[in-house]
Symmetry: C2
Subunit: 215 residues, 2 copies
């Protein structure tokens, strides 16, 4: 069945968080930074101690650098945080959005703060693709809380079961599925599902496979 809208995750799905730390010597930092960032969103959500995604990302950078005993100067730290406002899009994002734009309304549902999302979308000149850019900041909790996923149907005026939710983050795809979306997991790295019993409605290896499924 043709979905009435497509709702995309941003970080890790359309935009490559690891593009922010391009130097090979910082690959481990980039990985741990992302892991800490996610952990902090989950822990603070469970503790009901929301701070916005910019503050989460900053604390995660300090934590990751500390754990790896990497001494960042203030200048380096500020440069990494500024780079987080302008991550590169994955190469398959633009062609997929271009092919899908006439097919159904496209939107973003992201943990990112409104300012971060705006900057990232502008940096990649993606403004014209999206009917809505929805931030978890509206409800002051992070994915996979159902309160975040509820923002999609509310904003788009379409039931979750008729929206295709697209994410490369398998835990996000699983959270969206549990909420009631139809879910497409963009599994670029051919990873096993995690949790092992998660079964998305659709699995693709590249966003560019999505248009052919419906158009």
């Amino acid at each position: 069945m043709k979905p009435r809208a497509l709702l995309f995750d941003a970080y890790g799905t359309l935009f490559d968080v690891h593009s922010v730390v391009p130097k090979a010597e910082f690959a481990e930092l980039s990985k741990l930074w992302r892991q800490k960032q996610l952990e902090y969103t989950w822990l603070r959500s469970l503790m009901d101690r929301y701070v916005d995604f910019w503050d989460i990302t900053h604390a995660a950078l300090l934590s990751a650098a500390g754990q790896l005993q990497i001494r960042l100067t203030d200048t380096q730290r500020d440069a990494l945080m500024q780079a987080y406002l302008a991550p590169a899009a994955f190469p398959d994002a633009k062609p997929a959005l271009e092919a899908l734009r006439g097919f159904a309304p496209l939107a973003i549902l992201s943990n990112g703060s409104p300012r971060m999302l705006e900057a990232m979308i502008a940096h990649n000149a993606f403004e014209s693709y999206f009917a809505a850019v929805i931030s978890a900041d509206r409800v002051k909790i992070y994915k996979p809380s159902p309160r975040v996923y509820a923002l999609g149907p509310e904003t788009l005026g379409i039931p979750a079961s008729e929206i295709l939710f697209v994410s490369s983050n398998v835990w996000d795809a699983a959270g969206a599925k549990a909420f009631g979306y139809r879910v497409c997991w963009c599994n670029r790295s051919s990873s096993p599902p995690d949790p092992p019993d998660f079964t998305p409605d659709l699995t693709v290896q590249s966003l560019e496979e999505i248009p052919a499924l419906f158009c």
Copy 2:
């Protein structure tokens, strides 16, 4: 001020989860198993999709083995799960509990299911130390949800601010502090606080340091 009760975390604080996978070749498995176990508790809690800690631990083992491309036979998998019922206590646990038992009521507050906690405590002959063994299973959500931490004061009949909550898991210590406990972080590995701005009331490197603080 002397605490009116001491409430201990179990896994990673009193009992060594990595003792379950003793062979050096499985060290990476043990680490990822634990990481996935925690992730699943956080994610399922946020999704409001509770399953008990035994099921969490089993799914985490499958996920970790899958990601590391370790093929476990059914016998190996069952043996690892059975071993999870009988982890070794850390060497400092018994002397600390022995020294503290006359000082104030001692209790456990753990994510573990009642069956897992009972087995683990019996295996280490720790039954006589604890006035209460409290499982998150009562409220069907995991730490750091305030609903789990609320079980301590409820069960012990003592305000959180007069209970010393002891954990080696820094995120758990931070969650307990946010809830309102006095918190002792047992930082065996001299790690930096995580999140970086977390300041426990007390920090020790061994549980054996605790009695001298009060007794």
